[in-house]
């Protein structure tokens, strides 16, 4: 009977170890913050859970598996919250994702003003900031009608500038 237990816990421990390795490797390889966090949370959830399960099998019927279950429950509660808080703080402080969708253009939600999971108060402030930036852009573009390339450059610069400005403003307002 304990041979089966040993084999099962060995398998669990190995896969857990593999998950941790992949997570660590992923953190190294991923291009920027959010994807890297995705890889790290892989270690937290998959790796830790499997290793704990493997150890529980080793523990037999003593108090040890109960304590390991308590640790598992604690981790099960805290690590998703931690990664949520981390992601939220990163998004608010204006960390931009460098990802592209298949067509190569920046992902729609990359634009700061229509960000998804933002509590109501913050997004209203952001929307107003976005509108003023847009008004400024149109005023600047209108008078320079003949130098179309200059306007296009201004628009592109303005688009980039407000993104940076609003990000900085929200960072100051938020942090």
């Amino acid at each position: 009977m304990d041979l089966v237990l040993d084999i099962a816990s060995a398998v669990l421990l190995l896969t857990g170890g593999f998950f941790v390795f992949v997570g660590g490797f992923g953190v190294m390889r991923m291009p920027e913050f959010f994807t890297r966090m995705h890889a790290a949370s892989l270690t937290d959830t998959g790796g830790a859970a499997l290793i704990l399960l493997g150890l529980m099998l080793q523990g037999g019927l003593t108090l040890v598996p109960l304590k390991l279950a308590a640790i598992f429950l604690f981790l099960f509660l805290t690590s998703p919250t931690a990664s949520y808080a981390l992601a939220n703080a990163a998004l608010l402080s204006g960390v931009k994702t460098a990802c592209r969708n298949e067509t190569g253009s920046p992902l729609p939600e990359n634009q700061p003003d229509n960000a998804t999971s933002r509590p109501a108060t913050v997004s209203r402030a952001k929307a107003s900031a976005g509108k003023t930036a847009a008004k400024k852009v149109s005023r600047k573009a209108a008078p320079a009608k003949p130098a179309k390339t200059a306007a296009k450059k201004a628009v592109k610069k303005a688009a980039r500038k407000p993104a940076k400005k609003t990000a900085k403003k929200t960072a100051r307002k938020k942090s």
Binding site: L77, T78, T81, Y84, A85, N88, P119, K173, K174, S175
Partner: protein
Amino acid sequence: MMTIVFSLFLLTMLVIVAVAILRTDNLFTAVMLSGIFSLIMAANFFILDAADVALTEAVIGAGISTVLFLSALALTAEHDRSPPVGTWVPLLTSSALGGVIIFATFQAPRLGDPNAIVHQHVAPWYLEKTPELIDVPNVVTAVLASFRGYDTLGEVFVVFIACIGVMSLLGRVRPRRESIEEDEFDKRTDNLRHHLIPRVVGKMLVPFIVLFGLYVQFHGDFGPGGGFQAGALIAAGVILYSLVEGGPRGRELVPEWFSSMLVALGAFTYASVGVASMAMGGRFLDYSVLSHDPIHGQHMGILIIEAGVGMTVAGVMITIFHAFSRRGIR
């Protein structure tokens, strides 16, 4: 053999993190790395069979000291723009220091060799006599509380002075010059309020952390644990609550006067146990005179002083955290 491999790996990690702390310019990263440094140090202690010390280092080194550094960072500038100054003199002195030590430790006993002098002289007496004289499973708690109780008394008063110092430095109402625009600082400490998820999960965890702290407090005689770890754990629970709920709510939960009184009460309890044993005819801190049967007296003495230590450490950590977080708000 396995411990050598594990400790080899962990010690190298330790040095890498220490070098990273030295080289990074951003203070925020340096504080986070120092938290990781303490955690690896705690793992190292566990491998070297020091369970109590590993628990203390994890709670105090990784937990409380990171929180203190972060709250100090919130009140001061965050970036360390200055490059190292005149690197020759510090480099010379520190490498001379390191060289002397490495030169000396060639004659030191190897890790774990049983016939080192350290394991011959005083330690075996403790291991034999504890079941006989004090009858407490955890020998470290027996030595900490009874055989060398005078050291721990001094220790409790060191923590007591830290609380006095922080209160006298940061206690008074803030002077006219703000170190940082105060409304922005309010944002930082209170902005977690409308982060729904951390708030809900945090509030759910706080009771269990405090419960675990009390378990460690009274379990100190049987397994790794005791007054220091328990006090720091309870303080960690209260600090989590005031982080998640915002400073003012935290101060409502554990008011300022209560936590500083807790500190003075803890130190007073410890000293009065000593004086009580003097009054009962024994020497200072001699618990065996506290009750009819010496071993029962030892148990009672250790229990009371561990409670005193727990009260003091919890009170100090909470008072210091509130002193720092209150500093930002008028």
